[in-house]
């Protein structure tokens, strides 16, 4: 089954064309790494696939569901881990997780939540307001929310940034677990070395067009 399928996706902001007829397929159990210089359109592509923006032309499907027409169904299956982390500063870590799960219609046992918070090394700070968290801790908490939500399709925008070595290992494990569950992962990153460890295929966005990249080139070429 195809987790993510994009057909001739184009996006224009005014006169500026960010994406030009991008075709993309990510299978279930597959991680696709997306590279490209700043402003290449990686985040725009992820935002379109996350149903936050509509493509100017073209269409996309998530697990066989139309991303525009069946938006609500699609939203229940995917999760975007982005720069903003989607955390409320005046809620503590525990409350942020509870709120995020509630909006996905999930209600998990406290011990399950605690186990995941401990896994991302946030358990000791569960009662602390997110306002006092460092950028790395926020990223870890966002990762915990994603782990608990167990999405079938995972969209990652610069997932390795702000994470320390241990945090990157936890993230890699989570990606591998998502793939083992039969989920699809699309990851936009500049960290080619880390991406090479989890990705099965890769592509580079340049001037709005997506071109495939051989995996063996990831450790030698600079795609930025």
């Amino acid at each position: 089954m195809i987790a993510i399928s994009g057909q001739e996706i184009s996006k224009t902001y005014g006169y500026y064309q960010v994406l030009r007829e991008v075709n993309l397929e990510v299978g279930c159990g597959e991680c696709y790494a997306l590279f490209g210089p700043n402003g290449a359109g990686k985040t725009t592509l992820l935002r379109i696939l996350a149903t936050l923006q509509r493509p100017t032309t073209g269409r996309f499907e998530i697990l066989g569901r139309d991303g525009v027409k069946e938006r609500d169904t699609v939203r229940a299956t995917l999760l975007l881990l982005a720069h903003g982390c989607h955390l409320y500063e005046d809620l503590n870590a525990w409350e942020n997780v509870q709120f995020a799960l509630a909006l996905r219609g999930l209600s998990l046992a406290q011990r399950q939540v605690k186990a995941v918070l401990d896994r991302v090394a946030i358990g000791a700070f569960a009662d602390m307001k997110v306002r006092f968290f460092s950028a790395g801790m926020k990223k870890r908490l966002a990762l915990a929310k994603a782990m608990l939500a167990q999405p079938k399709v995972l969209l990652l925008d610069e997932p390795f940034s702000t994470l320390d070595k241990a945090g990157i290992e936890i993230l890699k494990q989570f990606i591998l677990e998502t793939l083992a569950r039969g989920g699809g992962v699309l990851m936009a990153t500049h960290n080619q070395e880390k991406a090479a460890e989890v990705a099965k295929r890769a592509g580079v966005l340049s001037h709005g067009a997506l071109k495939p990249v051989p995996l063996q080139d990831l450790k030698t070429h600079d795609f930025s």
């Binding site: 995917l78 999760l79 975007l80 903003g84 989607h86 909006l103 996905r104 219609g105």
Partner: protein, 225 residues
């Protein structure tokens, strides 16, 4: 059930955040306090004159205070891209809207309940007998303001000049609420029989039903556009 849970969680999230930050209610309160002080020093009135004018003054303070709160309702969601999180959520957008309306209603009513005794003291009003009807008027008018204001707060949150655009778009729409609220409050403060200003309460109730239903359906479109 899930629909009601989403409403509850939205209200809970906004209340907890506000209890900890006190940013919205304190800014609303201090603005309204300044309005009361300015008006009370501008007019030296006997009780009869006060009853004629005070309804307008109360609602000027309440509506502009409410707009401050409504403006913050969605601007706080911009921090850490939480608005994106709400947009991407599979939860009902209508339930999110109702949750926000409830939270805004609670904030505005809290400020109004704190401020009204100050109006009573500064303008030397005797309102003991009319307090129950005044509370009903405050509730109905504030609900109307919250129902429309929540939608427009979401609509303007991504606009650069949102602080300016929200009152410009919102005030013309809530003119019926303001007129009805002022007339009903004036009637209650004058000790008129309820039948004398009942039509204004009906107008508020009808406005609330119509605009809550319309805003409920439009909210998803606003969030996705």
């Amino acid at each position: 059930m899930t629909f009601l849970k989403v409403i509850r969680w939205m209200v809970w999230k906004d209340l907890i955040s506000e209890v900890r930050s006190r940013e919205t209610i304190s800014s609303m309160f201090f603005f309204a306090l300044i309005v009361i002080l300015v008006f009370s020093f501008s007019f030296s009135m006997d009780q009869q004159a006060a009853r004629e004018l005070i309804a307008g003054i109360i609602w000027v303070a309440f509506v502009f205070t409410g707009i401050i709160g409504l403006g913050r309702s969605f601007s706080v969601e911009l921090q850490n891209d939480c608005l994106e999180f709400l947009q991407m959520s599979p939860a009902s957008k209508g339930a999110m809207y109702l949750g926000k309306v409830m939270a805004n209603l609670i904030f505005m009513l809290t400020v109004e309940i704190i401020l009204f005794p100050m109006f009573v003291i500064f303008f030397n009003l005797d309102v003991i007998e009319e307090i129950h009807i005044l509370l009903l008027i405050f509730f109905l008018a504030t609900f109307g303001l919250s129902a429309v204001g929540t939608l427009f707060s979401a609509l303007t949150v991504q606009i650069r000049a949102r602080e300016v655009m929200l009152p410009i778009l919102l005030l013309p729409l809530v003119v019926p609420v303001m007129i009805a609220a002022v007339e009903a409050t004036k009637g209650a403060l004058n000790g008129d029989p309820l039948a004398g200003y009942w039509q204004w309460l009906e107008l508020l109730a009808i406005f609330n039903v119509v605009f809550t239903v319309v805003s409920f359906w439009m909210f998803e479109f606003v969030m996705d556009s």
